[in-house]
Symmetry: C2
Subunit: 173 residues, 2 copies
């Protein structure tokens, strides 16, 4: 069973090292900007955006977890903090009393409306502006291929879909 390990060749190694560095540095860069300018982590921002984009500005915790690539315990902790800050409200789901619904408050809407332009600018500056249109397509395909491996059952939303990063908020202030 000791099948000889096939080590990485130089092309594989170089690409891998860069991907790892990217995965290591990108989250921190996003958090830094958003925390500085809006007092939100990138994860909190994404969660608020997902709720804001949902019908009635309301979403169940499990679906929110799926949209934000998070575990339920993690989301529960974050939701408690967001609720304490008055950015969301939680209440039991009437149809299924096991479930919890989360609604974004007006304060929450206002905060992400204020935060969105700066965040989008950061996304452009650090990523999108560095890529050609072809590379953008390539990135889409490459990330999609890897996500299929990381999330084989497509339990998470990103593999096939997206939470809106965009114009929804243009008229949300």
């Amino acid at each position: 069973m000791t099948s000889e390990t096939k080590w990485l060749n130089s092309e594989e190694s170089a690409a891998w090292v860069r991907l790892v560095a990217l995965a290591e540095l990108l989250p921190g860069a996003l958090d830094t900007q958003l925390l500085r300018d809006a007092g939100l982590t990138h994860f909190e921002y994404g969660a608020l955006m997902a709720i804001a984009d949902a019908p009635d500005r309301t979403m169940r915790m499990t679906e929110l977890a799926s949209r934000t690539n998070a575990t339920l315990p993690r989301l529960s902790h974050v939701a408690r903090r967001l609720e304490e800050r008055g950015l969301i409200r939680r209440f039991p789901c009437p149809e299924d009393r096991r479930a919890t619904n989360a609604t974004i408050t007006d304060a929450g809407m206002q905060l992400i409306a204020e935060a969105a332009p700066g965040h989008v600018a950061t996304v452009r500056e650090t990523v999108l502006d560095a890529l050609t249109p072809e590379q953008l397509e390539q990135l889409y395909a490459i990330a999609g291929a890897v996500l299929t491996r990381l999330d084989p059952d497509s339990r998470l939303t990103a593999t096939s879909c997206q939470f809106s990063e965009g114009p929804i908020l243009a008229h949300a202030g």
Copy 2:
């Protein structure tokens, strides 16, 4: 100064969402496998590999931080834990008494030698095997372009180089 925000179009948004999901999920996947099979985080594994690959199996903390995309405080904590586990040793640098050198021990070498095959297999399964050779090249270029934005001064090593993921360890047991 309120330059109208240029929101993301659907191609940009789709690629961005996938990149974020990738950056969110990949580190966890690497940690899970390495912690399960070797009791090491991916960061610890990378640090040990970097030291193992250095002349005399010895490297200064600052250079190690640069190679592992880490801040010095983070690395210092990790180094303390690795030293407590007997995987590295630290001693003051003779030439510059401010500096600290870290050497990987035989136990450390043995541990990464045992861990490497499983890790490389995971890297192949979750990333490399999902990509065509062209996509591997594209990934290299894309990640390089983004890293230039994330690390404009090329303070970190990954932008231009790599720590070896490979055959060095084949004869390191």
